[in-house]
Point group: C2
Chain length 359, copies 2
DNA sequence: TTGTATGCGTTATCAG
DNA sequence: CTGATAACGCATACAA
């Protein structure tokens, strides 16, 4: 590892001159010196020491990416099919822009903060962080932050979020189910915060538009450990008899449950319809192919990085809450039960009710 | 961000003393001073600047993780179901051990090397790197390196690899197919280097043990862009008529192809059997569930990190080539065709032939 | 056009 | 027990 000083000594010139050549400030250096230095740069394949750079400058060229692990959900969150695609896109964009990515996963938010601070990251991308944690981070870390999939009360704190038309997606999916004649729909969510909550709002609005009312008993919260506990699954199986459709908040769960139910003799979609959210690879591969809401995680990752770098370079404060479009993808996991729809509800939305979505 | 100097000034003592307290060298500091400093440490929640530390010390506490992207394979390699689980395990273990993870993906190996050097990473974990690239990296980077899934000629260069019983896995899978009466087996691989090549060796040995000979025309190389090109898939479809089983080098491909073939009316496993490798979530979810070779990527990730840290701390040079066990997982994607087996081959291995595996 | 001097935050050496 | 002081590698303001 050759240093600037080494090279300066070798050429009998000062470090300043070498540094200037490295940074392309050749206007202030004679052509001859430039050539000498560049020759040496090539010869020894000089690589700057970024620790030293971070020290003298304000910036570290590091972008921190944090996903608070949730022990209750998956073994490790990086393995989640949706997160991994997103993360891959973020990584490649960070690299393309000449930055470095450092990942911090932790269930302990204060440890996470210490890790960010200790490297003085230029900016931060936070995935699926809850509001309280965001506030804690924001209070200690002053550089730009971009959130992905966050819903926080706007009035409490400014934030930049690269989100999704979650409400619209859930709305359209619900409408799709209703139009196919489904009236007994269960809504399956990981939790009732953030993204899943907003999707539930969309679901409710669609029901309302059809003169139906969401019933809290149709809201099924599903957790990773349930798959392990036979009793929980039995109960879910039992509950499923009340429904013609399971509307899931993620492809991951939809696909897992489809597999579980079909193994127990439930025919999909004949006996029970399923829908997902995300459109990950899984949902295209499984049979019946999953009807779902598509988003573009690669685009999202890129946009998050672009936005963050814009903020870092202080060109501007970008739009504070982007909602990327979603698209209903109809495949084969939803049955059409027109003749079998609950007769007391018409197939058309009731007149006079018109709550917009994402207004 | 409070610094050591700030605190020293506040207390009217020297930075040395503060630093000593921070590092627990309290034997050389009076109790009173220790308490004063620790109070301040807490109060301002002091976080050390790691760039400064890296500069003065030999170590950076960074572990670099590199996966050379292969443009021909996936959009981004992090999204690969197997890699993402492995990566997640690596990340959590690195963090648990008090290190930081920096990811470098690049198709340009020299860019990758520069990134590693610029941060002076204490150690490196290389995933799926080919031998030539490893040599290049090794020539520029002198800190410990642990490989995952590498096969290189041992005589050329020392290396530490955390691998798998690839040969054994493929051997057992092939035997399984043979015992179920399959005689016309296609071997599908991404390429003919590294892991896939060793698996092919195992495949060949199993065939030999049954008095059969591997035919190079039964070796089908499959690439990501093939899925897009209709002509390629048509050809594969046409070829498939020659076989009773497709033995795939990864679950990823097995599952993708199963889906493709079953959509075109091929019954699985009645018309065509499939096997995979890895046992990712996908293979458990899909129906028919995939017969595959299980490995434990989480364990692998942990072991790789443990090994690397051992090397970094110079406790010892660990075993140079670990091969973690694999396990055949029989599910429903392989048909039993005992009555239909090629009559000129007996179901039992021929006598007198006895090439061991992984000897 | 080139060089000198200083500082970034930390650790380590050595002297008091 | 404590404190100067130098050093790590780099960038920059200022001199020459």
């Amino acid at each position: 590892m050759i240093t600037i000083k080494d090279m300066a000594d070798m050429l009998g010139i000062s470090t300043t001159t070498v540094s200037n050549v490295i940074h392309g400030k050749t206007s202030e250096v004679s052509q001859k010196t430039v050539e000498k230095v560049e020759k040496l740069l090539k010869e020894y394949d000089y690589v700057p020491n970024n620790s030293a750079r971070s020290l003298t400058q304000k910036c570290s060229k590091i972008i921190g990416v944090s996903l608070k692990g949730r022990k209750d959900q998956y073994d490790n969150i990086i393995a989640d099919p949706f997160f991994s695609v997103l993360l891959g896109a973020i990584e490649s964009e960070i690299r393309r822009r000449g930055y470095f990515m450092m990942i911090y996963t932790s269930d302990d938010i204060s440890e996470l903060i210490r890790n960010i601070l200790t490297w003085n990251a230029d900016g931060l991308i936070l995935l699926g962080i809850l509001h309280d944690d965001f506030v804690k981070i924001k209070s200690r870390y002053k550089n730009p932050i971009v959130l992905i999939d966050s819903y926080a009360p706007r009035d409490i704190m400014n934030y930049v979020n690269v989100g999704l038309e979650d409400e619209k997606g859930a709305y359209e999916m619900t409408v799709h189910l209703l139009e196919r004649g489904h009236r007994r729909i269960a809504f399956l969510a990981d939790n009732m915060e953030g993204v899943d909550y907003i999707r539930y709002i969309g679901h409710q609005k669609a029901l309302a538009r059809y003169g139906l009312k969401a019933d809290s008993k149709d809201l099924l919260i599903i957790r990773a450990e349930m798959m392990e506990r036979e009793a929980s699954m039995e109960e879910l199986f039992y509950l499923s008899r009340n429904y013609t459709a399971f509307m899931c908040c993620s492809d991951y769960w939809a696909v897992l449950l489809m597999s579980y139910f079909s193994d127990r003799g439930v025919r999909i979609p004949e006996d029970l319809s399923f829908t997902g959210f995300d459109d990950v690879l899984l949902s295209r591969i499984i049979r019946p192919a999953l009807t779902t809401v598509r988003q573009d995680p690669a685009k999202r990752g890129r946009l998050a990085v672009d936005t963050l770098i814009k903020m870092i370079q202080e060109e501007e404060i970008p739009e504070w809450d982007v909602k990327l479009p979603v698209e209903l993808v109809v495949r084969d996991s939803v049955k059409t039960i027109s003749a079998y729809g609950n007769p007391e509800h018409s197939m058309e939305p009731e007149r006079g009710i018109d709550d917009g979505v994402d207004e």
